[in-house]
Point group: C2
Chain length 470, copies 2
C-alpha cells in the first residue's frame, strides 16, 4: 500500500487549517480502532472539516489526487464500515455538530452530521418533543453515522428505523459537488428517491453532511411490564393482541430467553428479578402516549389480564415506579455485558418476518447444538421488528479461543436458516466489511447487479469508502 | 413514428395467448385515453400479462426487438405517466389482481400489482385490519400504479405516503430479469435501498409486479369535526396543538378556503352547511383510535375548547352520527366537482414545509390576482402534510378558453413561489410527462445529474417508460 502523497496532504492541510486535520499517533489510534476490535485501520491522516464547504473541497482534492476517502462518525459501528487503509484518508464529521434548528410547528430538527444522537434527543426534549431514535451508543454515536447505517434500536416498532425519521439530507458527492436535499417536505414526488439511496449506503455513495429529522410529541405517560410467556409463539400472539388493543401505543416489545435474563440478574449489580417464577421466555413491553390525560397502566393491566386468560402469559408485573421501570430495562440492556461473564460469545444481527421468529429460534438453536454440543444459545432482541440478536455463549467446558474459532461456521449455519426464512443477515448494524462477502453470498444475481450498477453510477471511480457494502 | 414490427407482435401474442393482448379499437381507446384528457396515447397494442413470468418474458421480447414499454395500472394518474406512443407497447397489469395473502400475525398483505386499492382495503378489513392508503380513485386505481407514483391521499399525516406502507417489492427489470425483493422484513440493512428506488419511479426503472404491504389495527373509534379558523396560521397552530394533545391520533387534517366550502355546499346536492357563520378558512379534523375502549369525542371536544380559548378557532361542530360525518367529508371531497360549476380552473399539486403554508397562500393568491385580475383562488388540501391543491377558478366574466390559456403562465408564477419556499412542484401526483420539464427547470444540476445517472444505470437503453420523469 502507498500513502497519500505529500502534495495532496499539503493541499488538505491548507484547506482545513490546524484544527482541521491530525497526523498525531494517539488521535489516529483512537480513530483507527473500532470498538469490538475486529477491524483496525491504518490511516496516516484524519481530517476534521468544520463545514459542508470544507468537506466538499476536501473530497474534491482527494478526487483530483485519486485518493479514497473513508467517512467516519462516532465510530461506534462494529462492521468495519469506518475503517481506513494506509492509502486512504479518514474524514471525521465531529466538528460539524451543530443543531441548526428545532421547528416546533414543523416538528423538525435540522442538524449537522456530527451531532451526537443524545444531544439531538435532549434538544428536542427542551421543546417538549421527541426524537425517537434510541440505541446503546446514543451518548457518543453521531447522527450522520446513524443515517449512513440506517440504525435501528429500541423504538423501531413505534417510530420506524432511522430511514423513517428523515425528511431531508445534504450530501457531498464523490466529485466534491453538494446535493442539497435538505428538505422539510412531508410529500415530494419530484423524481427518484435519492434520500433513501444515501441512507444506509454507509458512506459509499456520498458523505451525509446535514439532515432534517422528524420530531414527535413527547410521551407524557409510560407503562412498562415484564411478562413470563410460555413460548416465542405466545410472545408473537401477545404482540398482535397488544397492537390491536392499545391503538399501536407499543413503544418497545423485547423478547429474551431465560438464560439471558438469568445472566443479567446474576452477574450485574443491583438488579432485582422481576418475577419469582422461572421461565424459558421473557417479554418486556412498554406503552407510551403523548396524550396529556391517559391511563396506560389500566390499558396494560387489561392487556395482561387478557393475555393470562388466553394463555399467552404465565405471570406478569407492571413497573409501579420509575425505579422499577429502570430495573426492567437494565436487565434487558445488560444482557450483552452479562454475557461476558460466561466466556466467549458468537453473535448474529439477523431479522426474519415477525411470524417466523419461532421457526428461527427452534431451528437455529437445534443447528447450533448439533454443530457445537454444549453451546448455550442466548437469543434476545426486538421481536416486534423480527430482529433477533441471536447470540450464542460458549459451552462451559470449552476454551474461549477454541470456541471463537467456530465463528464463521456458526454464522454460515445461522445465516442459511435466516435466508431460508426470507430473512436478512444484517438487520440493524449494517454491512461494512464484516458482512460484505456474506451479502454477496446470499443476494440474488439480480440484486447484486443492481447494487453494483448504483455504486458505479454514483461513484464511478470508487473513491468513497471503497471495499464496504458492495 | 414507426410501429412495433410484426415479428415482435407475433412473439408477444404467442407468449400471452388470446386473453393476454388486444389490438381492438375500443380497448385501445379506453387505455390510451387519460382521465383529465390532457394526454392521449397512440399504442396499437396493449398487453395483459397474467403472471410475473409473462411480464418478464414480454419485457425480454420487447428488449430483444428494441421496443419501449409503457406500464399501466388503473390509468387514473393525470400526468401523462401511463401514456404510450405508436412505436411503444402498452402493458397493463389488471389481470394480475390477486391478493395472495393477508397475514394477521405479521400485519402484512401480499398482493399482485393489478389489485384494485379498494379490494385490498376490503380484504384487510375482513381481518379487522387497515390498509390506510386512501384516495379519490381507490375504486379503480391499482396498487402497482399507487406505488409507482408514491401516491399520497387522505391519511398521510397518520400513516405516511404509499412509500411508507411497503415492506417488499417484486420488480421486472428492463432486461426482463426479475428482482425478488418481496420481503416481509421490518428491518433489513443488506445493501442499498432498492425498494424505495422503484417506488415513485413511475415505471421508468422497472415494472412492479407484486408488493408486500403493511397493515394496521383497524380503527374502532372515529371523531370528526368541522372548524372555522381565523387564518391558515391558526390552522397550523391548531394542528400542532392537536398533535400534542391527541397522541398523534390525527388521521386527517384538511384546510379549505371559504370559496371552496361555499361552492361545495351550493352546487352539490344534499349537503348541509356545518356551521351557520361565514368564515374565510375551514378545517376538517378527524381522529381515529384502534383501542377497543376510547373516548375520542371527549378528546376532540377538549381540543376544540382549548382552540377556542386560544383563538385558534372561531366556531366548531362535532359530527354526532355517521351521516353527519359523511356530510363533512362530502363537502371536502366534492370541491373538485363543485369547481366545475364555476368555469375553468387551473390546478397545482404542490407542497411546502408545513410552517410555510400561510406564506404560500398569501403570496400565491396575491401573485395570481396580479397576473389575472378577478381570478378566484380555491386552495384546499392536506395541510397537515404541507400539501395544498392550489387551484384557481376563472374570473366570473372571462371566457373559459381564454382563462385556461394562462395555465402555464400561472404554473410558472406559483411554482416559482413554491420553489422559493423550499417546496415541491409535485407533491402526490407524480411527474409523468406533465411536469418533466418543470422538474428539470427547478431541480439543481446535482440532483438532475443523480437522477439521470440512476436511470442510465438501471435502464441503460431507455426501454421502460421513456420520456417520463427524467
Amino acid at each position: 500500500m502507498t500513502r497519500p502523497h505529500d502534495a495532496a496532504i499539503l493541499e488538505l492541510k491548507n484547506l482545513l487549517g490546524p484544527k482541521g486535520w491530525s497526523m498525531e499517533r494517539d488521535v489516529l489510534e483512537t480513530h483507527n480502532r473500532e470498538a469490538r476490535g475486529k477491524f483496525e485501520g491504518h490511516a496516516d491522516i484524519i481530517l476534521f472539516p468544520a463545514s459542508t464547504d470544507e468537506v466538499a473541497k476536501a473530497v474534491a482534492i482527494c478526487a483530483a489526487h485519486a485518493i479514497a476517502i473513508v467517512p467516519q462518525g462516532g465510530n461506534t459501528g462494529r462492521c468495519g464500515g469506518a475503517v481506513a487503509g494506509q492509502d486512504q484518508v479518514l474524514l471525521n464529521l465531529k466538528r460539524m455538530n451543530r443543531i441548526t434548528e428545532i421547528d416546533a410547528r414543523d416538528f423538525t430538527a435540522t442538524v449537522e452530521a456530527g451531532a451526537i444522537l443524545k444531544t439531538i434527543q435532549d434538544a428536542a426534549e427542551e421543546h417538549d418533543l421527541l426524537f425517537p431514535l434510541s440505541l446503546g451508543a446514543e451518548g457518543s454515536c453521531q447522527i450522520g453515522g446513524n443515517l449512513a447505517t440506517n440504525a435501528g434500536g429500541l423504538n423501531v416498532i413505534r417510530y420506524g428505523n432511522a430511514r423513517d425519521l428523515v425528511l431531508g439530507l445534504e450530501v457531498v458527492l464523490p466529485d466534491g459537488s453538494i446535493w442539497n436535499g435538505l428538505s422539510k417536505l412531508r410529500k415530494d414526488n419530484s423524481g427518484y428517491d435519492l434520500r433513501d439511496l444515501f441512507i444506509g449506503a454507509e458512506g459509499t455513495l456520498g458523505i451525509i453532511t446535514k439532515a432534517t429529522l422528524k420530531l414527535f410529541p413527547h410521551p407524557k405517560h409510560i407503562a412498562t411490564a415484564w411478562v413470563a410467556v410460555p413460548s416465542p409463539e405466545a410472545a408473537l400472539d401477545l404482540l398482535a393482541l397488544a397492537r390491536r388493543t392499545t391503538g399501536d401505543a407499543i413503544a418497545a416489545f423485547e423478547l429474551m430467553c431465560g438464560f439471558a435474563h438469568d445472566m443479567s440478574v446474576t452477574h450485574l449489580p443491583n438488579l432485582t428479578r422481576p418475577l419469582a417464577s422461572q421461565t424459558d421466555w421473557h417479554v418486556l413491553i412498554e406503552l407510551t402516549s403523548s396524550r396529556p390525560t391517559d391511563d396506560l397502566q389500566s390499558l396494560l393491566t387489561d392487556l395482561l389480564g387478557d393475555a393470562m386468560e388466553g394463555e399467552l402469559a404465565r405471570d406478569a408485573t407492571l413497573a409501579q415506579s420509575d425505579a422499577q421501570r429502570k430495573n426492567l430495562w437494565a436487565i434487558r440492556e445488560g444482557i450483552p455485558e452479562a454475557q461476558g461473564f460466561e466466556g466467549g460469545s458468537i453473535k448474529h444481527d439477523v431479522s426474519v418476518p415477525v411470524s417466523k421468529v419461532p421457526d428461527l429460534l427452534t431451528r437455529g438453536m437445534a443447528a447450533a447444538r448439533d454443530l457445537i454440543p454444549g453451546i448455550r444459545p442466548c437469543p434476545f432482541g426486538h421481536v416486534g421488528d423480527g430482529n433477533i440478536h441471536f447470540n450464542f455463549t460458549q459451552p462451559l467446558d470449552m476454551d474461549k479461543a477454541d470456541y471463537l474459532a467456530h465463528w464463521e461456521n456458526l454464522n454460515r449455519v445461522i445465516h442459511d436458516i435466516v435466508a431460508g426464512l426470507g430473512g436478512s443477515i444484517s438487520a440493524e448494524h449494517g454491512i461494512g466489511q464484516l458482512k460484505r462477502d456474506e451479502l454477496a453470498h446470499y443476494a440474488s444475481a439480480e440484486k447484486l447487479k443492481l447494487l453494483r450498477a448504483v455504486k458505479a453510477a454514483i461513484d464511478p471511480d470508487n473513491r468513497l469508502n471503497p471495499g464496504k457494502v458492495v
